[in-house]
């Protein structure tokens, strides 16, 4: 069992998401950064589909009641295990009674830029699957732990680990984290975007602003979507759109002209024009992009998007090979 001493701003059980039910209005949800959760799971010998925790803005304390092994990916928020620093993308043994602490976003008077962390525990978080997923659907209130965010005092069951005792106690090791790509001069995070179905409905100026603006991620952002602030994106003419499918990464523009990039918990259909869609290979960067941070949207075409996806899959395959070569289970 894992005891939640402090959940932080928002902690929830998430896995790779609940797929196959969009036509019933059920959103895929799941870890917003699937890449991070996958890496963390592999580092503790779990199958990729195992459930972990998505933690928001640090400020979290978790106590482990039994010996286990954990890995944290995404932002570390100065994470420590009984005072010993825990680095992201490291696999670390945990002794019964130890406590994992993530500092708050404003701890020590210095504002930390991060936003989310994903924690995997050997054996995975063992809540009952609902519609083939252990992810928490916070909006509809099902899945995860009783369909809700974690609270102080919650006790989380863990599944059967694939690690034997020797593997569980092995000294810490780490892997190279995912590649953020070349840094922008002004510290903005670049996301690659395909023009959306309604791209042409926008004025020429708006289409140029989409690529030229440094978009600020407002604090109104959440698991449903990242709300951006910047130039007002105007359409050539207003008018209602009929309900149409949206997927994570869809950049929709409500009448305010301020775009929203939809994330895992967004509704399945929307009625706002879709000016673009963030490519799958870059969704993890959005999940980790800090509030009040800047985004730059970069136009690509489908072959470039697929090449980026293939590159990410190659990286994951390398991780799996490396872990397998070291005699580590999982990564299936």
């Amino acid at each position: 069992m894992i005891v939640v001493r402090k959940p932080g701003v928002l902690a929830s059980v998430q896995d790779l998401g609940r797929h196959g039910h969009r036509q019933l209005g059920i959103c895929p949800g799941g870890a917003l950064d699937v890449l991070a959760l996958t890496l963390a799971n592999r580092l503790v010998g779990n199958a990729d589909r195992a459930a972990g925790l998505e933690l928001t803005m640090g400020g979290c304390e978790l106590q482990f009641e039994a010996d286990t092994r954990i890995a944290l990916a995404g932002d570390d928020f100065g994470a420590s295990l009984d005072g010993v620093p825990l680095w992201p993308c490291w696999s670390v043994p945990v002794a019964a009674g130890q406590t994992l602490r993530l500092a708050g976003a404003n701890a020590g008077g210095t504002k930390k830029p991060g936003v989310r962390s994903w924690l995997a525990v050997a054996g995975g978080i063992d809540v009952p699957p609902v519609l083939d997923s252990r992810s928490t659907d916070l909006k509809a209130g099902f899945g995860g732990l009783q369909g809700r965010a974690l609270r102080k005092g919650d006790r989380l069951p863990t599944g059967v680990a694939m690690l034997d005792a020797a593997q569980r106690e092995r000294r810490p090791f780490g892997i190279r984290g995912p590649d953020w790509g070349p840094a922008e001069d002004d510290g903005a995070i670049a996301l690659r975007v395909l023009p959306g179905p309604e791209f042409e409905l926008f004025t020429l100026a708006a289409r140029e602003q989409l690529w030229g603006e440094r978009w600020r991620i407002t604090p109104q952002s959440n698991r449903m979507g990242s709300r951006l602030e910047g130039a007002e994106l105007r359409r050539k003419r207003s008018g209602d759109m009929l309900s149409s499918g949206v997927i994570p990464g869809t950049i929709q523009v409500p009448p305010s002209g301020q775009p929203i990039i939809l994330m895992g918990d967004a509704q399945t259909t929307g009625g706002y024009p879709r000016i673009g869609v963030v490519i799958r290979a870059d969704l993890w960067k959005l999940a980790q992009a800090p509030l009040n941070g800047r985004l730059r949207l970069v136009q690509v075409d489908q072959p470039q998007a697929l090449a980026a996806w293939a590159g990410q899959q190659r990286y994951l395959a390398q991780v799996a090979q490396g872990l397998a070569a070291a005699g580590w289970p999982g990564a299936a």
Binding site: L242, G245, V246, T269
Partner: protein, 227 residues
């Protein structure tokens, strides 16, 4: 990416557009009609069987397909959609008739009087007309099990409330503009609430998890009316 031909044998072809790198939007020309929507359901049913296609999501007058680009490339998928579309029959998807009992008015339908005032009917007449019509589920979206239905008698159309409610009770039946529908879960909402059903619209433990599916026909049955 827009397809060249606009129609085959007088059947308008969908306009195809990528929605990201692994989803294809099939958008039909206006106006949205029941016959065209029926072909969308039929295309969804067909496409689910195609290798490389993941999920199918009907919208209003459109269909989104997710696909695995390593299993089916965009050109092949595009060709399959355009080849299949003219051959689809509108009657291929047989919806069920679902009767939905409703307690109209009173605490269950706090806006029934407002709808009556707006439409010029008595509350009882609003209920009579609402229960006399047969509705069709065009798609599910917004929330799990939330159905977008066609078939509201035009004279019952009532604008949404000026101030949306922060928490509409689950299973509330409402009218929003020219649409009627049922809130499956407690959620914010601006529709005029005219009643409430005891039926669960969404139960994640049930198989299937939603009471309604695209293509179903719906009749509301008045269990009680408080005016």
């Amino acid at each position: 990416m827009t397809t060249g031909r606009r129609e085959v044998n007088d059947v308008p072809l969908p306009r195809l557009h990528l929605l990201g790198d692994a989803a294809l939007l099939c958008d039909l020309p206006a106006p949205a009609t029941l016959a065209q929507q029926q072909r969308i359901w039929a295309l969804a049913e067909h496409a689910r069987e195609w290798p490389g296609v993941g999920e199918t999501l009907p919208g209003m007058n459109n269909l989104t397909l997710t696909f695995d680009p390593t299993a089916i490339d965009l050109d092949t998928l595009t060709a399959r959609v355009l080849e299949a579309w003219p051959k689809l029959s509108a009657g291929a998807v047989e919806g069920r008739l679902v009767e939905i009992p409703v307690a109209y008015g009173g605490e269950h339908g706090p806006d029934l009087a407002d709808v009556a005032a707006h439409t010029g009917f008595t509350p009882a007449e609003v209920v009579r007309r609402h229960t006399a019509a047969e509705y069709v589920v065009y798609l599910l979206g917004f929330l799990p099990g939330f159905s977008f239905m066609g078939g509201l008698p035009p004279e019952l159309a009532t604008p949404r409330r000026a101030e949306p409610r922060l928490a509409v009770p689950a299973r509330s039946v409402g009218i929003g503009g020219e649409q009627t529908g049922i809130y499956p879960l407690v959620s914010p909402g601006g529709w005029q609430l005219i009643g409430r059903t005891p039926l669960e619209m969404f139960d994640p433990a049930a198989e299937p998890p939603t009471l309604l599916r695209p293509g179903d026909r719906v009749r509301f049955v008045a269990e009680s009316v408080q005016t």
